[in-house]
């Protein structure tokens, strides 16, 4: 199988230096200890069940966008990584590990679309996560996402936001918002509030206006809410995607224990998909919580509820026709697609569906930590989602001008696709539109 040119050109110090330090002995021991100690019947069942039929291929946007290159089919990625490790009983080279890390971290979004197309429901994403786990234990992870995992480990947030910078940013956003609504508050550390609002690291760093907008929505909707001034405010989790389960657990524990300390009844999260997966599914379970110890409500559910309860009134619907992207983690992962449509229809005059949609929607190709692997892989990521561009073009042809992407990673990834393929769509969060069309006090 010939390899697309840009893949050979990628230089990533996280992989290069990591692989240079490996010995075959260490690789063998690590692979076998992860396979023996951390994977059980599930991996064995997948490996034993797969009949190599390739039905999963048609599900994967990488495969479809890469002209059906079998390297990029779900089962192809498995063949090039975990099967080889199993077959060789861990006796693989540092060069192999480097490549396996690159495949698992940058050629699979863990989007789980393929699992729906496999007659046995084999979860390729689970196997790619095991590969990432092995590569983490070997210290061979792409540099950018590894740095993010280090940020989580130190600060409990994704962006190296320091202890003082967080409350300072909230206080500054509160002041800004007071110019619009003089009585507006972002109540810090209010014990016993109903809701703790949590966001992802990039919000205070680059998108503080989202915190501003959330504060306006909370205030107008009359929610008794708070934000912590301590660490534990960030719900995001790239450690989950580097296979650093221990840091994932530590970060999730900080998040839930912060909510418990504040005695809130629920955590409302901003528009993020992977963070939801971590808080609602993966991170909590690693810690032993079958369901989150404090109820977790995704932004889509929250907007749905406040619109339905009439806590927010729409003054004038958004007129520009919109199309709606379904983020994998909250649609395949949680089934929020009808709620996001309810919210969209309440706010917008016209929703033009893209196809396929709902749980069959194509991934943005940014999720699963792929965009977090940084600039070295940007081109590959964009080239690997031509099908998304085609899907969006079709929606545009029907009149859609705005693309709603209710997830941070989707938002950024689709922005790249929008730009590269010249789609000319304007990309918005649901919150951007809600803030724009809602009734606000004069």
């Amino acid at each position: 199988m010939g390899e697309p040119a840009e893949i050979n050109e990628i230089k990533d110090k996280g992989l290069e230096i990591g692989a240079e330090r490996l010995t075959e002995d260490k690789i063998e021991k690590t692979i076998n200890s992860v396979l023996k100690g951390e994977t059980g019947a599930r991996l064995k069942a997948y490996v034993d069940t797969c009949i190599h039929c390739g039905l999963c291929s048609e599900a994967c946007h990488y495969y479809l966008s890469r002209d059906n290159d079998p390297h990029f089919s779900p089962v192809g990625k498995v063949k090039q990584t975990i099967w080889e490790m199993l077959k060789k009983k861990g006796k693989v080279s540092p060069e192999f590990i480097k490549k396996a890390s690159e495949i698992a971290s940058t050629e699979c979004n863990l989007c789980r679309r393929c699992a729906m197309y496999c007659p046995f429901g084999i979860d390729i994403a689970y196997m790619m996560l095991i590969v990432r786990r092995i590569c983490h234990m070997l210290g061979v992870t792409p540099l950018y996402i590894q740095d993010t995992a280090h940020s989580h480990s130190v600060t409990m947030n994704q962006m190296w936001v320091k202890g003082d910078e967080w409350p300072d940013t909230l206080q500054w956003q509160e002041e800004e918002a007071q110019a619009e609504i003089p009585t507006l508050r972002i109540p810090l550390e209010k014990e016993g509030a109903d809701v703790m609002y949590s966001v992802i690291g990039p919000e205070p760093k680059f998108q503080a206006q989202l915190i501003y907008q959330a504060a306006v929505i909370m205030n107008v909707a009359g929610i008794d809410w708070t934000m912590p001034a301590s660490s534990g405010w960030d719900n995001s989790d790239m450690a989950m995607y580097t296979g650093d389960n221990e840091i994932m657990g530590r970060v999730k524990r900080a998040h839930f224990e912060t909510a418990a300390r504040l005695k809130v009844k629920k955590i409302v999260m901003g528009e993020c998909g992977h963070a939801f997966r971590s808080v609602y599914d993966v991170g909590n379970r690693w810690l032993g919580w079958r369901i989150p110890p404090v109820e977790v409500v995704h932004a889509i559910e929250f907007y749905h509820d406040i619109l339905k309860e009439g806590r927010i009134k729409i003054s004038k619907k958004f007129e520009t026709p919109v199309t709606l992207h379904d983020p994998c983690n909250i649609v395949r992962g949680r089934g929020l697609h009808e709620m996001s449509r309810y919210v969209t229809r309440e706010m917008c005059e016209e929703l033009i569906e893209m196809h396929p949609n709902r749980e069959h929607n194509y991934c943005c190709c940014a999720g699963g930590g792929v965009i977090n692997c940084g600039p070295p892989y940007k081109n590959k990521r964009i080239m690997s989602n031509r099908v998304k561009a085609e899907q969006l073009f079709a929606a545009k042809a029907k009149g859609a001008k705005v693309l709603i992407a209710p997830c941070h990673n989707c938002h950024s990834g689709l922005e790249d696709i929008n730009h590269h393929y010249g789609l000319g769509l304007e990309i918005k969060f649901l919150m951007d539109i809600l803030y724009e069309v809602m009734d606000k006090p004069e």
Partner: protein, 420 residues
């Protein structure tokens, strides 16, 4: 020392009307109440960029540009983080510390309330300040702050080697350590997290990560010789100054003392270990199985488990009884020694034992109204706000602090009235 014997345990009721505050000020933030219940205070907005603290209807002498984190110290002094001319400091009963900083946060109080510490940022360098005096040393970053049991020592995880974003391999060589009263250990770690200062102030123990996957506890800079898959925060054994921490071995959690496993069984999860007041018993919150939570006493879990959450464990003063909060099927409950009260709530606060350990009371929230429950019996009154109950030294009376219909009320109620 806080001498609660000196508090007024006689006057049945004292009231302060709060409703006129909202007329007087542009806004009134959520109130705080002093431990003895004599004072109620709130941050109030006077004008654009002008805030003050209102205590029993009187504002502090001087307003500030911004005020946040209003908290009573356990000894009854009222503190707030305040800013003036773009600089921040702590004001205690309205008097700001002399030292000013670029930013401060995370106020910590010693149990007796005498000592107050904060985290400080100055010129993008970090340190702790105790009673207004900052460390001599400052660091590029600082996390996980601690104040010793007697309140005379402060500690934190500090970055001693500067890294730029993206320098992952330099980071993995170790750029963090712990500092006690500003003095950093010589040893470097990949990470340093929660830490504890020994009761005698001679030792500092912290969770550390040695590389990407080996975890252990370091005491005064020296790592335990055993490493683990993960660790949680250490505590000191009050009897012998040994360090006890949860450790993960082969995917299961147990407890280790000075590096050696001391409990004979392992759990899916184990954390928040604590010693009884006499130091003889050791309990922890555990999950014997995935999704089943309870408390283990000296390694033995209660038979009763809860499917969602166990938190806020507290010993009776004699160490014989243990109370905790538990959440099950979305409802909060109170458990004492593994038996569960029949009343359930939307939220519960940490239980409080009477001095003789016979009675247990807690603040609870039901349908947005607060009340007190004692020994599974609800107080008749429902309030708009309420603070934790406090038993009198002889246990015969309970101080109850509430807000009802815009009026703050300090009540002394006979314990018998609450137990029925």
């Amino acid at each position: 020392m806080i001498d609660i014997k000196e508090w007024d345990w006689e006057t049945p009721e004292k009231k302060i009307v709060l409703s006129d505050w909202t007329e007087k000020f542009r806004w009134v933030e959520e109130p705080s109440v002093s431990p003895d219940g004599e004072k109620i205070a709130a941050i109030v907005k006077l004008d654009e960029g002008e805030f003050n603290v209102c205590v029993n209807g009187q504002t502090w002498e001087n307003p500030f540009e911004k005020i946040w984190y209003l908290r009573f110290s356990p000894d009854g002094r009222l503190t707030a983080i305040v800013s003036e001319m773009g600089e921040w400091t702590l004001a205690v009963d309205g008097i700001p510390w002399e030292e000013k900083f670029a930013y401060i946060w995370n106020t910590l109080f010693s149990p007796d309330g005498k000592n107050i510490a904060v985290a400080v940022q100055n010129d993008m360098q970090y340190c702790m300040a105790l009673n207004g005096i900052p460390w001599e040393e400052t660091y590029a970053n600082m996390t996980h702050f601690a104040l010793g049991p007697d309140g005379t020592k402060t500690a934190a995880s500090v970055q001693v080697e500067k890294t730029s974003e993206g320098e992952i391999h330099k980071f993995q060589e170790g750029t963090f350590t712990a500092a006690l009263d500003g003095k950093a250990w010589d040893t470097r770690f990949v990470n340093v997290w929660n830490m504890a200062i020994s009761p005698d102030g001679t030792k500092l123990a912290a969770e550390v990560r040695l590389n990407l996957y080996d975890y252990t506890i370091a005491v005064n800079g020296e790592a335990w010789k055993n490493t683990f898959g993960c660790v949680w925060e250490p505590v000191f054994n009050p009897q012998n100054n040994a360090v006890v921490a949860p450790v993960r071995v082969a995917g299961k959690w147990s407890l280790a003392e000075d590096g050696n496993i001391i409990w004979d069984r392992a759990f899916f999860q184990l954390w928040h270990q604590m010693f009884s007041p006499d130091g003889k018993r050791l309990v922890a919150i555990v999950a014997p199985k995935f999704g089943e939570w309870t408390i283990a006493v000296d390694g033995k879990p209660w038979r009763r488990t809860f499917d969602e959450f166990v938190t806020d464990v507290v010993f009776s003063p004699d160490g014989n009884r243990i109370a905790a909060l538990a959440k099950e099927k979305g409802k909060w409950k109170i458990t004492v020694n593994g038996s569960v009260w029949t009343n359930t709530f939307d939220m519960t606060w940490k239980p409080v034992f009477s001095p003789d350990g016979k009675n247990v009371a807690a603040k609870v929230d039901r349908n947005g109204k607060y009340t007190i429950i004692m020994n599974d019996r609800l107080w008749r009154q429902e309030c708009d706000e309420l603070w934790d109950p406090v038993f009198s030294p002889d246990g015969q009376k309970v101080l109850v602090r509430t807000i009802e219909d815009g009026t703050y009320c300090r009540r002394i109620i006979p314990t018998a009235e609450l137990t029925g």
